[in-house]
Subunit: 341 residues, 2 copies
């Protein structure tokens, strides 16, 4: 099945570019509530499943043993901007595990925003692994390694106990076998396993509701969900989609972006999880898809409506800040969403 055009980018009177994609909404029993596009092809979830990758940290008791607070748990689930607050929190997580940034194997990355990069440049510093958008996740992996008594060096390798723990949890949450033939290397050097979108949609329905889980895993999901929605700034940062949406919805939704146009999320009040992939990997389109889905599915207050309206049709501007066009849901996509429920 072909992926339909879900998002358009306009310029003046015309559509300039088009983004296709696939999307699944599922409930916690794994039933597909709604789908669009090619949902059979395995998708690398990338950073969209960081919250699932953090489950062993909670279930092992490592999060409590290391005294990680909500902000730190949120950072473990984050693709952050590499702002000072993010880098500093990652350093503290490592300190709590008796480690330093030398232990991180995610590689260095410039902060996402020029103003944060400028602070480093003005201080004559280079970006380090603490600024990598995945540094919180990696600090959590290292904390887990310590509590498991596993070596910290090489914790990114697929055969390391930390990555094995995560793979098993992902298999249980998605209901998919995650094997070497569908394994790629993520940008931060850890394994990423591809699976059909419905597996991830189901996993996030369960993540948001706890339905069908053992008490221990349900509690782990609840703590991570609460940490992210209570500390949305730690999950991304200034000007970021995940932060703005979770901030506005105050606990009603969890959303998380992944590289190459992936989004996953939980909507506990409806019992739904969702997973989507923009075919071409564009984040601008995956964000519009997610915003449109939330706008159609949820009743909103004024603040929530304002945030979603801005994220559903973000403006495209000239370098002088004048409107030149917008990114927006394709009419057929909106019509299809309206048919839900």
């Amino acid at each position: 099945m072909e992926n339909p055009v879900l998002v358009e980018a306009t310029r003046g009177p015309l559509v300039e570019s088009r983004h296709r994609g696939a999307l699944v909404i599922a409930d916690s029993a794994g039933k597909t509530v709604f789908s669009l596009g090619d949902i059979g092809t395995p998708v690398f979830p990338r950073s969209a499943i960081k919250a699932l990758q953090a489950l062993p940290l909670l279930e092992s008791g490592a999060a409590d043993a290391l005294d990680f607070d909500d902000a730190e748990l949120a950072l473990a689930c984050a693709s952050h901007n590499g702002e000072e607050v993010h880098a500093k929190s990652a350093r503290i997580m490592l300190l709590k595990a008796g480690l330093t940034e030398e232990a991180l194997e995610c590689g260095p990355q410039w902060p996402k925003r020029m103003e944060d990069a400028a602070k480093l440049i003005q201080a004559d510093e280079q970006p380090c692994a603490l600024h990598n958008n995945c540094s919180g996740k990696h600090a959590a992996f290292l904390g887990l390694a310590r509590v498991l008594g596993a070596p910290t060096a090489g914790y990114v390798a697929p055969e390391h106990p930390v990555q094995q723990e995560i793979r098993i949890v992902l298999e249980q949450m998605t209901g998919q076998k995650l094997t070497a033939d569908i394994c790629g290397t993520d940008g931060c050097s850890i394994p990423t396993y591809a699976a059909p979108l419905d597996g991830f949609a189901r996993a996030f329905a369960v993540f948001g509701t706890g339905e069908g889980l053992s008490p221990g895993r349900a509690r782990a999901c609840e703590r991570l969900y609460e940490a992210c929605v209570n500390e949305p700034y730690m999950v991304a940062g200034a000007g970021r989609f995940c932060t703005e949406v979770m901030d506005a919805f105050r606990g009603r939704v969890f959303v998380k972006t992944g590289a190459e146009g992936v989004f996953c999320g939980s909507i506990p009040e409806l019992g739904f999880g969702f997973a989507l992939k923009c075919e071409d990997g564009a984040t601008r389109a995956a964000e519009v898809m997610t915003a449109a889905l939330l706008e159609v599915l949820l009743d909103t207050d004024e603040e929530q409506a304002e945030v979603l309206a801005r994220q559903v049709t973000p403006e495209i501007q000239t370098r002088r800040g004048v409107r030149a066009g917008e990114v927006r849901p394709a009419p057929d996509f909106l019509a299809a969403l309206m048919s839900i429920g």
Copy 2:
């Protein structure tokens, strides 16, 4: 007609993302030699036609009156990195026209590369309109306005004599009517007119060969072509596709990128021009499409083959610089290209 998948991005053993697109190769008589995808929908050419937008500068005598050299003519056709050499050359072009950067209406832009941005930050400077990737084109517009005796303020407006001159030349070169209903605003605030790809492919076949043109226009095309291929660093800069390809091909091809996944080019030895658009606007895919097209169409020496091989399948790396996948032409796209000639 649907756009086929022309480019794939892989990760480990799987294709992670897919880019669709449309492509036309034409000769200078306007005959379509080869096409793929939806070639009927009008495309905003954006910066890919800067060389055509510079024709009035030459034909009016303004380039000679202002004593613009090859490097400056190349900068007039450029989407440059905003490196020191680019910003400085744009300032000199303005000085030659008796103006300063205050006259530029393109808006400010950070240099493309962090190391060039860092130089500004270390000097406690903000980026200005000279660093805008279009500053050379705008300096050329202002030079033309001066020689035409037109006001310099407002030179970006569709009704300004400079933009009217350009619109007429574009109509002649593409064989298309360019009217307000297909006009958008480019990122640098000037009008951009959408037209089918075959119009642009034909225009660049003519640009590269001069066939069918008046002597004055043919000479203008030749001077701009020569300027770009002689000074490819001014057209883009360090690490950039257009610079590397034109540098390696030493006059055999002209290529130019445009925002939202557009590329245009001339291959005079074959009498061909081409124009392509990645449906979703991705530059990474438009570059691979262009490199694949050149690799199939042209006999190459060792250096040319090396540059194209790298640009046809650029590596996707982790933040530690380890290979994670690649961007590459889709097998069906390569097979279709092989069928040419």
